[in-house]
């Protein structure tokens, strides 16, 4: 049983085909709504947490504890005038924020979410090669940022977009190599190591313990990909005004803003799935989704602490870090993983 069959059962009087078409539609809507709610909660959490770390209070005027703050923000963003630059490249300019947001939704849709009590499995897609699909999906978001930067005919936006691409190129390769090590380890235990679900289910002990180096590399690369401080050179607000989103107003900017928080959530989710045991937990396996959320939220809070305490790294040092340190480290990790797989196989 999963969400899809539940919804299809609800519409079953309409016949098999129609009920499944409606079920797919509703599942999509539910999922996008879920992503939106999660992002709004993330932004609220971030603001409160930032205020707490700076001995402030944070938003507390609208609603109890300022819970309606994000609603006020989104109302305002919807009501803002939409300014389009005169020399823009029209189609890419308009499509870029949607590309960023859809890339995020697509990547989140490929993750396995585990079971949730009587609803059953919350996982949406069941693909044999979901690891490859996931890396294809998270490569879409930088494309949207590049489109936004180049099409808005603003020097700061172009600079920010190019920096973002340099960052993504130099950090995606170590990330993928460290995941390759995971796939290698899993291949001894399952027949489909490229499936995220089997990657999670083979973690009798979490992969983070034998693969500490891989976890380290993957976590840093995830932070870099989400492009917040200390790696926010795409949107470095003291020299490039606001990076690729400089020319965007209103809700178009809101999509970029949510995409940034979404990539933190996505990164934390991936780390907890791949390295920390995912939806495996000590007690009943019905609460798999809860375990996953708890692990993700701990990682999100750690990411926020990193964001709020560290200053930005210079762009050349940062790109050097990707190519000169993380890439060799991940290759060494791959060799270690090979030996570990051999050892496990011998045992």
């Amino acid at each position: 049983m999963n969400v899809l069959t539940h919804i299809a059962q609800f519409f079953s009087p309409l016949g098999h085909y129609i009920s499944y078409i409606l079920a797919y539609l509703f599942e999509t809507i539910f999922f996008i709504a879920f992503v939106m709610v999660v992002l709004v909660m993330m932004i609220y959490l971030f603001r409160k947490y930032m205020a707490r770390l700076q001995l402030r209070i944070g938003p507390n005027r609208v609603g109890k504890f300022g819970l309606l703050q994000l609603i006020a923000d989104s109302l305002k963003l919807v009501g803002k005038e939409s300014i389009l630059p005169r020399k823009r490249d029209d189609f890419p300019y308009k499509v870029a924020p949607v590309v960023v947001f859809l890339g995020l939704v697509l990547a989140l849709a490929l993750l396995p979410y585990g079971d949730f009590f009587y609803i059953g499995s919350l996982t949406i897609t069941h693909s044999g090669v979901s690891v490859i699909l996931l890396f294809a999906a998270i490569a879409i978001m930088p494309v949207g940022e590049l489109l936004a930067g180049v099409s808005s005919s603003n020097k700061y936006a172009v600079m920010g977009a190019l920096r973002g691409v340099a960052k993504d190129v130099s950090f995606e390769i170590p990330m993928m190599i460290s995941v390759l090590a995971l796939v290698m380890m899993a291949s001894g235990r399952t027949s489909s190591p490229l499936n995220l679900e089997s990657l999670v289910s083979t973690q009798y002990i979490p992969y983070g313990i034998p693969e500490v180096i891989g976890l380290f590399v993957f976590f840093i690369a995830m932070i870099a990909r989400a492009s917040y401080s200390p790696f926010d050179m795409g949107e470095s607000d003291s020299e490039l005004v606001s990076g690729h989103s400089t020319e965007y107003t209103g809700m178009r900017f809101g999509l970029f803003y949510m995409g940034m928080f979404g990539s933190i959530f996505l990164g934390s989710m991936m780390v907890s799935l791949l390295y920390l045991g995912g939806y495996n937990g000590p007690f009943s396996s019905d609460a798999g989704f809860v375990y996953l959320l708890i692990k993700t939220m701990i990682l999100v809070v750690i990411s926020f602490t990193i964001w709020l305490s560290l200053p930005r790294i210079r762009i050349d040092k940062f790109v050097n870090m990707g190519w000169k340190y993380l890439l060799p480290i991940s290759v060494i990790n791959l060799i270690i993983a090979g030996f570990l797989t051999l050892g496990v196989g011998l045992l």
Binding site: N60, R61, A72, K76, E81, E247
Partner: protein
């Protein structure tokens, strides 16, 4: 549907938008002179302006709603100030902070200072003082929120 009903819906919508706008005023990172130092203090822990929703000092004028003109506006700066104001999307609000911005202040007999920033951009709230304390500026922002919600006539 009668016209009166539409009016009811639109007024409710207007109220909601006013509520949203007044509780989410993102200021522009824009400081001209000594008043800017006091302006920074409203963001700090003691008089946390994010309680009112003005959490983010956006760097891009495209994404900010509120321009706090903090400091002497010279005649040379006035065209630039006007350009930044024009770059902001509607609805936009301006707070004139300090007596230099209101009527020229101590430079009101000089050759180089604009005698009041309301000659350059339309101003919503004037905060006198040289410089105003952060508390006074916070009071100015509260006044602006009330003005957006049509609650005050100071």
């Amino acid at each position: 549907m009668k016209t009166g009903d539409v009016g009811l819906i639109t007024t409710t919508l207007d109220k909601a938008m006013e509520w949203g706008r007044s509780n989410s005023l993102w200021p522009l990172t824009f400081g001209l002179a000594c008043c800017a130092i006091e302006m920074m203090a409203i963001q700090a822990s003691n008089l946390d302006i994010s309680r009112f929703g003005s959490e983010i000092f956006r760097n891009s004028p495209r994404q900010s709603d509120l321009m706090i003109v903090s400091g002497t506006v010279t005649k040379k700066m006035a065209p630039r100030l006007r350009r930044i104001y024009d770059e902001m999307p509607y609805p936009k609000y301006v707070i004139a902070m300090g007596v230099c911005v209101i009527q020229g202040g101590p430079y009101n007999q000089g050759y180089s200072v604009v005698l009041g920033v309301d000659r350059v951009v339309p101003v919503d709230v004037y905060v006198p003082g040289c410089p105003p304390t952060p508390e006074a500026l916070t009071h100015g922002i509260i006044t602006l929120q009330k003005k957006i919600r049509n609650e005050t006539d100071r």
